[in-house]
Symmetry: none
Subunit: 214 residues, 2 copies
């Protein structure tokens, strides 16, 4: 039996395209092009699954989910977006969407995804699942207790200076905090950059962040 689907996207042509491609296999009970229209339409048509564009004027998909949740927490959302940016994925999942697929999906896969979301499953484009897991699990814990050959080639004072610079302090501020002259800070920073084969303090910040030295 066919799934009752509501379609939310600010591009009229895209809505028409989705309806044309999968309208014979799911029941499209309504559609909307902005947030208010979507919330009102979902309230009256009571769909099982809402196909939801992430980027829309008036607050985007997040606003729709939050608006609908207040009167009907049973509706399931499948985010459908051109973006595969981690921040978009994570935001919409946090809001409560049960799936996230990009618009490059094939009609067959989309119908399958809609059915699975209706049944309570979570559906992701394979690439995106990685983002979600990374966000949950955090980055892989660096092995502790193992000596870092790159870090070890820095002298104690150089490490101290490096930490300040990586945190964004200026040379002057670093000098003040360590009670040494700006020139000495320059010397240490130059030595650190050379030893680590980095070219500027931005790369140093990234290097330190990767090693959780901040």
């Amino acid at each position: 039996m066919s799934v009752r689907v509501f379609l939310v996207d600010d591009h009229r042509l895209f809505r028409a395209g989705v309806a044309a491609e999968i309208g014979d296999r799911v029941e499209i009970v309504g559609s909307a092009g902005d947030v208010d229209e979507a919330i009102a339409g979902i309230r009256t048509t009571d769909p099982e699954v809402v196909l939801l564009d992430v980027h829309m004027p008036g607050g985007g998909g997040l606003a729709v989910i939050e608006g609908v949740r207040e009167f009907d927490p049973e509706v399931r959302f499948l985010a459908l977006s051109v973006s595969d940016a981690p921040e978009d994925v994570i935001a919409i999942i946090r809001a409560g969407a049960r799936g996230y697929v990009t618009k490059t999906i094939s009609p067959d896969e989309l119908v399958d995804a809609i059915s699975r979301v209706r049944d309570g499953d979570a559906v992701f484009s394979p690439r995106l699942a990685g983002f979600v897991l990374d966000a949950f699990a955090g980055e892989l814990p660096e092995v502790e207790g193992v000596s870092d050959p790159e870090l070890d080639q820095l002298t104690p004072r150089e490490k101290e200076v490096m930490r300040h610079i990586a945190r964004g302090y200026t040379y002057r501020e670093t000098a003040g905090r360590l009670h040494i002259s700006v020139k000495t800070v320059e010397t240490h920073v130059s030595a650190v950059l050379k030893k680590l084969q980095l070219s500027n303090r931005h790369e140093l910040t990234a290097w330190a962040a990767k090693r959780r030295l901040l």
Copy 2:
């Protein structure tokens, strides 16, 4: 090309079954029936993917992941279990496994899942993905809500420039990437810093990182 797989399960007959069913499509470089044997075997055979039973004497799959991580963080784990209990799924994912499928999976699907895990994707039985999302829903990183008044006061072009600067590109590099002059980049950066009441690009990087705009 075939994936190098190591098989960990305390049931001898199950190992034999997996080998018989998919051994012609993946390269099974070794197998083990307990934790110590698994860690030693993985160290010597250096597989790409480890098929890992969750419930095993001697600490279970978690112990294997932690033991292997110390000497080879590159190995990817695909949990394979009779259990679909949320606590089992969540624990193993938190430990670092990149997939979780139940033993009811078909050989074809298993081969596909192994390949995808090897390629860095995350793989779940559809029903299990829901558990994972629900379990971690409260732990997701903070994401700004529908409208960010601070971000909204930036023009589209300013946001574009801001992203580049926050990522560490110099004015010159940013100008080249956006095909505008260095002077225009300066103008936009000045406007951004003024609107956000920041004083330099380091604070801008921190500001953007807090909002996960990178």
